[in-house]
Amino acid sequence: MKKAKKILSWCLAGCLALGMMPGCAQNQQSETSSTTVKDVTITFMRQKDTTNSVTKCVSAFEKAYPHIKVKLLSMPASSDALHNTLVTALAAGDSSFDVMAMDSVWTQEFLDAGWVESVDSAFTQSERSKYLSSTLNSVTYNGKVYAYPYFTDCGLLYYRKDIITTPPKTWDELIQMSKANIGKNGIKYGYVMQGAQYEGFVCNVMEFIHGNGGDVLTNGKVSINTSNVINGLQDMKNVLSSGITPAGVNTYKEVDCAQLFTQGETLFMRDVPKYLSVVNADTSKVKGKVGICELPRGNDGTHGVGNLGGYNMGININSNNKEAALTFVQYMTGEAGQKVNALQGGYCPTRSSLYKDEEILAKYPDWEKFESIFADGVPRPLTPKYSKMSDSMQINFNKAVNGLLPIKTAVENVEKDLKSILNQN
């Protein structure tokens, strides 16, 4: 019995010691293999792609570069979830992934934290000129370029072209047209937008603000307490309280709006380009009856302003395969990669030439309008402190348009918060 215990304890010690062995053995192995075989495997972390376009792009890349294998690591589709996963990994200096997809609104934050490898020298001037300038801005930090724009996004007005011939130019017109059509042709609601309390809501708010000639920051200074901003928010509140939206519009996100719109009971919808395929799918009751155009503007604005978003591809500063990673990023964001991404997945390219591509226009005739709509679009403030700013705007403006706080007070709260976040007191 005693002996058995002694043996047991030694076995235990042995096991503990052995536990460290495989690690050593593995290190030796990888050292020898890297000198003999040149094959590298890189890992690409991105949000889940339901369209399979990314796997198509990756296999085309692997065919073109047989010595590089790409492992795809799919994260949840929400931008916040991807952000939080990446932050945790990057802050810990994780090197297990080489390439990451970054939402354009938090790209600046990542660049500021020093988590992304610079691609300034590899990204030639002639290459840069091929990208939409708004997408390049989001990857530029202190005059240097750190990532490649992957795909872009912009708020659009979807309308029923079988009912409306000329889409509304202002929010007031939108309300009037909605009221005139509710009850006819099976129309129950005038307008749906993203009203739930989340980042998508901030995008919608920005469109009302920018569309009325206002802005959150002007030349980096907080400029939110102006009549343009206040009236822009008033436009939003008017739309929401005019009775043309469904009761639950303040719980809707992009996909809820698209689902409702496909039922054929809604006249107008604000959504992003990727839902064009959803509203025109065979299961949709409005297939072929949907037109898109620029969003309406406020009375003090000159034109409608869509909110620009999208994703960039950057290289992890701790990656061990930066060279292969760069080759991969350049391929994916190049002409060929983006074309597959557009045709297969409906992602809007960041390279302007693709909006004139015949194959793409044949598949998506509406895309010919995108270049001018995107040119009028404005991104959310490009600053490393964006998340905190967005937090304050999300809460205060959501309260304001839901009638829980006067607009003026909400704007003053946000002004105070932004000034303290940006140290502009």
């Binding site: 503990l16 802050a91 934290a113 739930a196 719980t251 809460i395």
Partner: protein
Amino acid sequence: MISLHKKKTIGVSEARLGYMLVAPALFCILMIAIYPILKTLSLSLYSMNLQSPSDTKFIGLDNFKTLLSDLRFLSAFWNTIKFTVCSVAFELCVGMVMALLMNMKLKGTGVIRAAVLVPWAIPTSVSALMWMFMYNDQYGVVNDILTKLGIISKNVAWLGQASTAMKAMIFTDVWKTSPFMGLLLLAGLQGISSDIYEASAVDGASKIRQFFSITLPLLKPTMLVALIFRTIEAFRVFDIVFVMTGGGPGNSTETLSLYAYKTIFRNLDFGMGSAVAVVIFLFVLVFAFVYIRVLGKDTL
């Protein structure tokens, strides 16, 4: 029998073997449980933002002072209290009814006991998503049923109004966790000997008298455990809120855990986020203490 002397000469005493055997487990517990708690406590005393890790500095209790004047924190705190008190109170009542029903000697109680567990067995985020669809203003079944019963005349966006969103979430939580409460209480009920009931019946006690004079006092230890469990869980509520409203509308349903999560992961403000987490921890501690003092005076 082994003599003490002999044991020493061999070198591996029973005690030492014991320590060696539990050492890996102890080490794991230390790393998994104790280390993060201590780390959070220490982080709450620092000003630390992941975006600028070099600016990290010790600021003592400043984070807590800031929280006290932070209206958002106070509203999150109030929301958490509302959620905890209402959901735990309702759960206790519903759970008690369930337990009493299941304790009756009827046919098919086995099946019922298994069936009531279904809500509890569904992962919270899944049931939250399910309820979110049920509360939907367009195709939600809640609106449909209430309209057919004539209670409401037009569809209501249950999660879209500050006045109903919190109630809707509390209802979901009660639905989900009452079975757990019920089963815990049932275990307590079955521990009460039937002799006592028989004796009291002979003395002429009514069923109601029996419930208040026998069942409730003897159920106190079980109730204590169930209440501690549920209060702690409810006070840390995260998944229901995160999935169903994300804190909206107008931040009227944000709870402390959601606030801590947003502060840490969205704003990368680890110092302040940890301070919120510490507040949650302290309150849970206070709750447990109060329960044990009030309910457990003569039972523990």
